[in-house]
Symmetry: C2
Subunit: 330 residues, 2 copies
């Protein structure tokens, strides 16, 4: 996989410049930082901030907009931003209603975001957080669930974003996040790993006919390497594993997200969606909401993830359907 | 590049099933055919139909919606649909106001669409067409412009789509198309060719450090193979070649489209957008509209195209900005 870049040291700046130039009708970028904000932060609602490393586009800048995020703080490729930048973002967007941080469950992301929250609270600001841990891949050595924060994070952006716009308090949003996140489960598969050559080291290699189930969004290894199979066989593996994460009684109605990991053509996501639909039909799972496309990528990984969200309350569906101008939410 | 498919013989059916399942709130698919239509065809406007081979997703199904297309007719991978299916689509969507076909300039596409137009006219239907030929790549043997219909086609869908919704007649839309199309110019570059292994033969190969300027959207060769360069150097080549297609006086305000060809990460399109912006700034070209993403792909090609449209009339810009629910127009 070749890379269309200039110098690896300036990727964050050049990317954010390009993104915010493209969407300068709705986004502001604080030049020299990783801080991108909505052009106008509403004064009567809780502020929602997310972020992480670059390389996951359109996440998270693409989720800034009406009924979604107010701000995204982006670090270098696959590296979270510094706590000092997150603190700066909290202060810059603070409107007195409180700020909720939506954090993907990775050690480094937690360290940065929680330190920023700590520093902001010490300054007397109301800040809280939710941690998204939707990945249900299993660590092959310990059989422990990896619980990384992956594509399901965009469901959290959308649902909490719409709830915040409805005027819910910081406490209420925190509670909603805690109810929602355990019902979001994601599993990914890669056909070729991300290849940010000269930027970060590759953590695994795959042969010409191999695929890897359960991989992460920064090129982390999965739980099983197998010979490349048909779309249908891959759908069976992912749907079966995801299904096992829920009580049968909870699997009545669900939202699904088929997420391309960066270099998977929409043609193939479309074929995969058809296979997933047939499997969910057989299981009598009523799919009340679906999204397909590149939502939270892993640079140029060829692969995809499937996310299930079981809808416990009708208002979650209402929030999913609330319109937004966030460019990543198409 | 591995392929996430089932059997190559059923790709069109499975893809259209997956796409129309995902967007079943707005799209209808005539099962067994390549015909996808808007759920409700308006009765008081000209019907707009486009199409071509599959493998260009989200084109063209993704452009069916309010203020865009009414119908797309899709063939097998990189093969236009049969004239008989296009005729069926014209008849199925006919509302008495006339039908405009938007055709990409390829020999086989012209043959199918123009035969369908001929057959429909013989049945007394009002049908007309425009041919999009925005590719300004040069044939290396003859130095002739290739004039293939490529990514700029989506500007034609958007502008004619919004104009049709405004109630313009078939003749007026045809005239608008004829004014618009010569002002749309596109040039592409590939870093890795499409690899629909076992589906269609590859027309060129690139070494690990090579790229190819001027390639087509079905894996057709370009005009020059070069050593892979930086994003900035590639932007210079494309912007310079595109600029030369216009009179200097026409290059005052422009719309631009940066189109990923299927497996290019948005991260890299963003970096490239930043380079393009800087070059257009130097040229004093006022960019009044911009789009970036995967709009008209070449299956899993790693590469991109840049499209310029010089805005001759303000209403073109109004049409570009008219909202649509077409899922490909994000």
């Amino acid at each position: 996989m070749k890379q269309l870049i200039n110098s690896s040291g300036h990727m964050r700046q050049q990317l954010l410049a390009g993104l915010t130039y493209t969407y300068n009708d709705r986004l502001d970028w604080q030049v020299g930082t990783g801080i991108v904000t909505k052009k106008k932060i509403a004064e009567n609602k809780v502020v929602l901030i997310s972020g992480g490393g670059c390389g996951h586009e359109p996440a998270h800048v693409g989720y800034i907009g009406e009924n979604m995020l107010d701000c995204a703080v982006m670090g270098a490729i696959f590296e979270p931003p510094a706590a000092s930048e997150i603190l700066q973002a909290i202060e810059k967007t603070y409107n007195g209603q409180g700020t909720l941080l939506i954090i993907k469950n990775f050690e480094k992301d937690l360290a940065s975001f929680l330190e920023a929250e700590h520093l902001a609270k010490a300054k007397g600001l109301f800040v809280s957080h939710v941690i998204v841990d939707d990945d249900c891949s299993i660590e092959s050595g310990t059989f422990e669930k990896r619980r990384r924060g992956v594509a399901g994070t965009v469901f959290v952006h959308k649902i909490l974003g719409a709830a915040a716009a409805q005027g819910h308090s910081l406490n209420e949003l925190h509670t909603l996040g805690e109810q929602l996140i355990p019902r979001i489960k994601t599993l990914g598969v890669a056909f070729s790993p991300a290849s940010p050559i000269g930027i970060i080291p590759q953590q695994y290699q795959l042969a010409e006919d191999e695929m890897y189930f359960g991989i992460g969004i920064h090129g982390e290894p999965g739980y099983r390497i197998e010979t490349m199979r048909s779309s249908e066989r891959i759908a069976i593996e992912l749907v079966n594993k995801l299904k096992q994460q829920y009580e049968k009684a909870d699997l009545t109605q669900a939202a699904i997200l088929i997420n391309g990991l960066g270099s998977t053509p929409l043609l193939e996501l479309g074929i995969f969606m058809n296979d997933v639909q047939q499997l969910l039909d057989i299981e009598d799972i009523n799919v009340v909401y679906k999204r397909m496309g590149n939502f939270l990528t892993a640079y140029n990984t060829n692969g995809l993830s499937l996310t299930l969200l079981t809808i416990k309350e009708e208002k979650w569906l209402t929030y999913l359907n609330t319109p937004t101008d966030a460019f990543g939410w198409k």
